[in-house]
Amino acid sequence: MNVQQTPKSPPKVLFVDDEESILSAARRLLRGRNIEIITATSPLEALEIMTKEDCWVIVSDYRMPEMTGTELLESIKRKFPHVTRLMLTGFLERPVIKEAINRASVFRFITKPWDETELILGIETAIQHSGRRKTNSQLVHEIGVQNQLLEQLTQNLESEVNKRTQGIQESKTLAESKQRLVRELTAFVKNLSRVEDVSELYDVVFHEMRKFHDVSEPYLFLLEGQKKSRLIWRSSRNIREKVVNQIPKHFHSLSVRTSSPDDLIWWKQNVKKQCRSLLAIPIRARETSSTQPVAVMMVEHGLAANALTLLLDRITERLQAVSIVLDKILLREQLVMATQQWEATFNGFNDPIAVLDQQDRVVRANKTYLKTFSGPLQKERSFRINTYSINFASRSTIIPRIVNYYYDTTHERDLYLKLVQSEKLAAVGLFAGNIAHELNNPLSGIRALTQIMQSEIETTNPFLTDIHEIEKAAIRCQQIIKNLLSFSEPSNDSFEEVNLNDMIDSTLPLLKTALRLVNLRKYYDSNLGIVCIQSSQIQQVIFNLINNATQAMGQDGTLTLRTWSEGRYSCFSIADTGSGIPIEIQERIFEPFFTTKGVGVGTGLGLSVSRSIIEKYEGKLSLESSMGRGSTFTVYLPRVIK
């Protein structure tokens, strides 16, 4: 969008934020556009700049050290009313937003971190707005000048006429006073037309009443529904606002009341002031068919009956204009709130959403979209896109738009990939089983031959020890193969009554490489009792737990194996001095496919398989872990009762 009347020099935008990084981001963003950006790192600096520079728009952060954004913008509004005010916000609460709208007439809120298109659009719209206001006020100014000229002209004419006509003097005075009244009314309406928020309205109305001297600052009640109202008043220069939850019935009446007992009682209870006389003026909504006021203005005064009538006359004359403006303000307020709410909702979605135009350009997107698709992608993610088209109606034209809703399927895809991986794993297991058999055969031949040779050569032969070494190596190989086989053929395994100490020791040779770098400590209880299990399965559990432990430790850790008996259980624990497991994932690590290890390292199956095996024996697998200290996995297996 472009500024309609391109000014000779680019419009100036003042950006205020106490964070330099934000300012430089803004500078970068606005570079190359027909906008001159000026920055300030503090509200005071901003106020100083404003006295020197003719800025069109000010964009201010909310949280800053010296004063809040609302306070800054409020004082800008007072001193430089033509500058359009934008506010950057994190997630703000309604009261803060309301306050900013009412005190500082904030034109638009832009949430931080900002969406670039949104920010640019906001600034450009604000520039247009300022532009329009500038031309407006210029017009008003010109009209003023012309009026003066006219007045002068009239005076001149009048003095001419005066000289000539004496008799008309009386009627002239009368006409003059009428003219004055009309002029005042026009001025009032003109002032009103510039009003943008409740506090400005308040000021204009009060300014009007102050002409009557003995009138104190009014209280304005905006009635929202039957039960709630907003009370607006001024206290030491500031406009205050609060919510009042009880509205007396008579507030809904449409008649003007002077010191009615109901009002007086209510006033004393709620405003707690000594009260002289009280004037209550209901303000109707614009649609005059409504039987209830949208607002009630209450003024305390010390006016005599005469003056009071004059005041009432004056106010009644102006009430219609006031109610129109009030309508406008309330609508605007609702609009800003609704936009804010809509944006918060839009941004609250955890899935990316984008609105595209017909050329597939993103015209609007929520935060998740920006987070997901801008900046470096952490890992490859996959999405399913739901697309539907929407026609936005704007005045007379229809703007076709496409909404893309991105449904993150990364997790689904990962799960699927892992499933495929685990199937591969099973295939590898089978394959390993076959290889083990292939190797076993020649190994048994080697072993048998060494036995024969040892029996046949003399005991003095130096080869005897060599041959013995060969036999030992063959035996060790066969041991490894036997363990490997127990993984691939668990179902053939029969139940055995074993001692857990032996069970663990028979598994350790399989983990030789894994255990090479750690210190191993064993504390075995010799009085453990017997458990009835399928060896290969329990071996598999031990294998998984020790593997995890050594992977968590790296070099120089200590692995402690402990066995004991407890109640009806034989127990063993495997403790490491590794990284520990964050409490948030302590339950999740038992889920199938849950892994924190890289592709090719972790399958996420170890613990889930282990737990299901142990539970099959009516045992328990539990975990204790503290970050940085290490983890202990404990297995409880029911003892065989003899």
């Binding site: 076993n440 048998a448 031959l449 036995q451 024969i452 086989l485």
Partner: protein, 125 residues
Amino acid sequence: MKVLIVDDEFIVAKALARAFESRNHQVVLAHTGEEGVEKWESFAPEVVLLDVVMPGLTGPQVIEEFRRRQDSNSPLSSAKIVLMTAHSGVRDRAAAHGLGANEFIQKPFEDIFSLVTQIEKMVVR
């Protein structure tokens, strides 16, 4: 006694042969199932040690083939048949009988000489 050893794994066959020979038995080796059937007929062993898994004819198929070739008139071979298997599945005597053999032995052998002793006892019985 006369021992026929059928095993495709050369070193296993050789080790078994050596062990039996060291106890003064007469050994003939075959490295395939087909060769095993031939030598069974020509050598007329008292003990046949048969590997189960072999390329070509498997151990049980060797037994079948040998039986098939026996004329109904000619006397059935009285050899004791021992199947050698590395698989840890079914491996009891009943299973061996089902396959036409007398016994299963488990590979790998822990002690080759006690295996020889075990088979010697089997033949005497």
